[in-house]
Structure formats: structure tokens, C-alpha cells
């Protein structure tokens, strides 16, 4: 049991890590996916 509490304090110190880069890359990928889907949809409309 004492070991478990040790681990908990370790996790708490990592909370301050910055996730800015992760946020940026997640949204870059997200916008790329949206862009390609919208592009395909307009291709479909154009060929209707």
C-alpha cells in the first residue's frame, strides 16, 4: 500500500506538462480530415 501512494504523488507532478503541441497536432489532423471530406462532398455535388 505505501508504494501505491508514492505513485500517486508522481502523477501529480506530471500534471503541469504542457499539452499545447498535442492540441495543435490533434486539430491540424482534425482540420485536414474535415477539409478532405468537404472536398469529396463538393466533388460529389459537382458530378450530380
Amino acid at each position: 500500500m505505501p508504494q501505491l501512494t508514492d505513485k500517486k504523488t508522481k502523477v501529480k507532478t506530471e500534471e503541469h506538462s504542457s499539452l499545447k503541441g498535442t492540441l495543435a497536432s490533434v486539430f491540424l489532423l482534425g482540420f485536414f480530415l474535415i477539409f478532405t471530406w468537404v472536398g469529396v462532398y463538393f466533388l460529389f455535388l459537382d458530378r450530380l
Binding site: 500534471e15 499539452l19 498535442t22 492540441l23 490533434v26 486539430f27 482534425g30 460529389f44 458530378r47 450530380l48
Partner: protein, 158 residues
């Protein structure tokens, strides 16, 4: 449970897009009645030549400016393979195959189907402009696959 603020943002964004997609698919299928080209219409692949409307394949007028185009695909040809359609016609294309899986792609249009033996594929398209379209097989079906084509001509009404 503690979650980072950014993590909440992208989870909201991801789950939100999932629900958006499901809503679009649901409205398209249940409210607008859209369905895939092959939707549970079956046919005996060995008796295609005796089963109407494929016993007389070709263009059939079904209403005012409405047509049915019935095509039989087989290794390695479409029957018929020279089709004339009057401009402005709303054509429901029905395709089936007598042997193996074939493709049915009308180049440059949204007509693109996978033709499976035992099933009838349908797609409705209005031809608003004159011109020529090539139909080709885009599923490898054998040694003559690359020769499997047909031509559609959209012509002015007389």
C-alpha cells in the same frame, strides 16, 4: 476524474464530429430514403436471360421523361454496349451480372457500382447535358477485363 482542459476540448470535438456524422447518415437514410446501389434486390444469376427486365436489356420508357436502363454485365461485355439517352431524361440504371463480380463506372459521374452475381444494382441519374460517357469495369474480372466497356450518348430530343 481529473482531465486536462485541452484534453476536454479535443474529446468534445471528436465525439461531436462522431454524432454529426451519425446524424447526417441517419437523416440521409431514414428521412431522405437514400440507400446503397445494391439494396437486397436479388436475382438468380443463372437465369438472368429469362428474368425480366434483363431478358430484354436496354432503355425502356417508364413515364414522362423517365426511363429505365437495364444492363447485363458478363465476362467481358455489357449488354447493350451502345446506348442513346435523350437529353434531360431521368434514368434509373439497373445492372446485374451473369457470372463473376464486375464494376460499373460511368466515367466522370457519380454512377459507380460493384455488380455482384445474384443482386440487382440500381442508380438514378438525370442527364442534363449532351455528350458521351464511357462505362467501364473497375473490378478485375478476368483476362478481358481491360476490354470491358460500353458507350452512352446523351443526344438532343427529336
Amino acid at each position: 476524474m481529473h482531465m486536462h482542459k485541452y484534453e476536454k476540448i479535443w474529446l468534445f470535438f471528436g465525439i461531436g464530429s462522431l454524432f454529426l456524422f451519425l446524424t447526417i447518415v441517419g437523416v440521409s437514410a431514414f428521412a431522405q430514403g437514400n440507400q446503397p446501389p445494391s439494396c437486397l434486390t436479388t436475382i438468380d444469376p443463372e437465369k438472368v436471360d429469362q428474368t425480366p427486365p434483363f431478358n430484354k436489356p436496354g432503355l425502356v420508357k417508364t413515364g414522362d421523361n423517365e426511363y429505365q436502363l437495364n444492363i447485363v454485365a458478363s465476362a467481358f461485355a455489357y449488354t447493350p454496349n451502345q446506348i442513346e439517352i435523350p437529353k434531360g431524361a431521368k434514368v434509373t440504371i439497373n445492372v446485374t451480372t451473369k457470372d463473376v463480380i464486375h464494376g460499373f463506372e460511368m466515367v466522370g459521374t457519380n454512377v459507380n457500382m460493384m455488380v455482384e452475381p445474384g443482386y440487382v444494382n440500381s442508380f438514378t441519374k438525370t442527364f442534363n447535358e449532351t455528350g458521351e460517357f464511357t462505362i467501364l469495369c473497375n473490378e478485375y474480372c478476368g483476362t478481358g477485363h481491360h476490354l470491358m466497356t460500353a458507350k452512352v450518348k446523351v443526344v438532343d430530343k427529336q
